[in-house]
């Protein structure tokens, strides 16, 4: 219906995915406000590019792909801004940015803290494959990379998480 031009059908179409999409964005960004922005932008992008949606593919995974791309773009932008700010701050007295405080406050759950030990790519792969339970092939397609790259990052992510659990979250190890 939506593909045939009835755009009012878009909201009912995406409503079942609104929470999983926000949860994915939250695990990728580890910040509620940023996750909300990522999920909103992903849904708007999906709405605008609906004509390019491949109907042979899972709609949920397509939304996940858009959200992962958005989160990655924002991460890169933030990294550049941070580098520029650090450059500028070298000549200024140190201060605590409000964003830092907010970020620290957001990182509260064990899962989010565990995910913090991973690189952005490892986090994307782990979240999609192990938490969202996408197949390796579908994970690769969602992240626009090869299956080999997914396996390499997944292996590295599981190794790092195992170490992090032993070092910092023994209560997870004990099943509490």
């Amino acid at each position: 219906m939506v593909l045939s031009g009835r755009t009012e059908a878009f909201e009912p179409l995406v409503t079942p995915y609104r929470q999983p999409l926000l949860a994915l964005a939250y695990r990728l960004t580890r910040n509620r406000e940023e996750a909300l922005e990522v999920a909103q932008e992903a849904l708007l992008r999906a709405f605008r590019s609906l004509a390019r949606y491949d109907v042979s593919r899972s709609f949920r995974n397509w939304l996940f792909q858009i959200a992962a791309n958005e989160a990655r773009d924002r991460f890169r932008k933030r990294t550049r801004e941070k580098a520029a700010a650090e450059n500028a701050a070298r000549h200024e007295p140190p201060y605590s940015a409000p964003e830092d405080g907010r970020a620290r406050q957001e990182i509260r759950s064990d899962i989010l803290q565990c995910l913090a030990v991973l690189s952005p790519r490892e986090r994307e792969v782990f979240v999609l494959r192990d938490l969202e339970e996408l197949e390796i092939k579908e994970t690769a397609r969602t992240l626009d990379c090869s299956s080999i790259s997914v396996r390499v990052n997944l292996s590295s992510a599981r190794r790092k998480l195992r170490q992090a659990i032993r070092d910092n979250f023994p209560h997870l190890e004990e099943g509490r």
Partner: protein
């Protein structure tokens, strides 16, 4: 397969993420190796615990206001706001069209005066043949003489 090699693959084997052939080789080693079997068990437990913790974790949800505000933006562009189709094309397409247009404009300017192609001029730039037209005032007869650059007579035409 050695323990060292098997341990390299255990993180992926724990989630059944190895290709079947490699998975079979790792399984054969693990069946025979207590230390690798123990490590595999630990990886599987950690994975299960992480998944369980992730499911139990409270993740944020949209407030109704946030969702309604977003849903209000799922509207097609009004007819007056609709961009022409060519503007929706990627930049490279617009650049190609502009390039073709400029190329055609240059060609049109070159052909406009009809002076494209070989000119009847000597290498020094002087005309190789000149013509002289003689017209009789009484009879109106016209005679055209053709002379080369040395004014040698080359022929005539009535």
């Amino acid at each position: 397969m050695t323990c060292r090699k098997a341990k390299k693959f255990i993180p992926l084997y724990a989630g059944d993420d190895l290709r079947p052939r490699l998975g079979a080789a790792v399984r054969a080693h693990i069946d025979a190796c207590l230390s690798c079997r123990k490590e595999l068990g630990e990886y599987r437990q950690d994975l299960t615990r992480l998944k369980t913790a992730a499911k139990a974790e409270s993740v944020p949800d949209w407030s109704e206001g946030e969702w309604r505000a977003l849903a209000a933006r799922f509207k097609p562009a009004a007819p007056g706001e609709k961009r022409p189709a060519f503007l929706a094309q990627p930049r490279w397409a617009a650049a190609s069209v502009l390039g073709v247009f400029l190329g055609l404009a240059v060609l049109a300017m070159l052909f406009k005066d009809g002076n494209l192609g070989p000119r009847k001029t000597s290498p020094a730039g002087e005309p190789s043949v000149v013509s002289l037209t003689l017209v009789s005032q009484e009879t109106g007869l016209q005679v055209v003489w053709f002379l080369d650059k040395n004014f040698e007579w080359k022929g005539d035409e009535n």
